[in-house]
Symmetry: C2
Subunit: 175 residues, 2 copies
């Protein structure tokens, strides 16, 4: 296996790794979870196992969605970010977020999820910081999302603002 490591510009000791299927994989954390050590990796590849993603969304109680539609949504997202660890060489998906964007001015973040077993350890924060960092590379300056009441505080801590200058998020649903 061709395998190289590179120190990444960050406060934490992180590494950019490249494996055989040329996905960029970043080690973001060595996590001690219930006396087990997990190496948590981040990847922006869109080659995501849809069943794993469904299982992850199911773990936080989200409504089931047709896999066909999920596939289209991933393909047409500007950015997808996955968090995972390896278990016997198999990726175990524990976090996810995706972004729609015009690649220029605006981006909207959707489907932010961390598996309940891995919540409360700063992984959501790290995930969001990486999303913002990647969007800023494209000079996208209006980064938006729609937050459920229970996660508004979480996003506030990351610098997100509710209704700036009275701008309101609005939704249209089919009847």
């Amino acid at each position: 296996m061709i395998f190289w490591k590179l120190f990444f510009n960050s406060n934490k000791k992180t590494r950019l790794e490249k494996n055989t299927d040329s996905q960029n994989i970043l080690l973001i954390r060595n996590l001690n979870n219930k006396n087990k050590i997990y190496n948590i990796y981040l990847s922006t590849t869109k080659n995501i196992n849809l069943y794993e993603l469904e299982k992850l969304c199911d773990s936080v109680g989200w409504v089931k969605r047709p896999l066909k539609k999920v596939k289209i949504a991933l393909e047409n997202s500007f950015l997808t970010i996955s968090l995972f660890y390896y278990n016997e060489n198999k990726k175990k998906l524990i976090g996810f977020a995706r972004v729609t964007s015009d690649n220029s001015f605006n981006a909207t973040i959707w489907d932010v999820v961390i598996h309940p077993d891995f919540q409360g350890q700063g992984l959501g924060k790290e995930l969001m910081k990486q999303v913002i960092k990647k969007l800023r590379i494209y000079d996208i300056s209006t980064i938006t999302l729609f937050a459920d009441p229970q996660v508004i505080k979480f996003y506030r801590h990351l610098g997100f603002i509710i209704d700036p200058d009275g701008v309101k998020g609005m939704f249209w649903y089919p009847l």
Copy 2:
């Protein structure tokens, strides 16, 4: 000029026209504006004159944006809709809206604008109805936007809801 007309399925008498550069153009209104008759057309072509678009955005007092970034934004929008009339065979842009989307679940509407000379005559409403109609063809059911305080009422009349179930629109801006 190859030119054909077709009656469109709508309450109003509208026509789908196709011109030589194979853009779909829809006549949406015969407008009497200051004793002059305007045939107002709608098109979803992305072949938009960036200077015309800039002029239109300028007419409603929006901040100037780099044309290079506008071009990228249009290219990466899921949908762009223009309203215009012809003046001596030249298109005069009087309305615009664009949408980012994952082509599956969600869409976000940006840059909705009607030229001040043509406001108050239902064109904004017609523009938005066409946006929603086109998104529904793709079975996109979460249609979102961020509304300035002065247009919240306009979107409410179109069926848009503020903060459903306490979901809040949030923004992150670079410092």
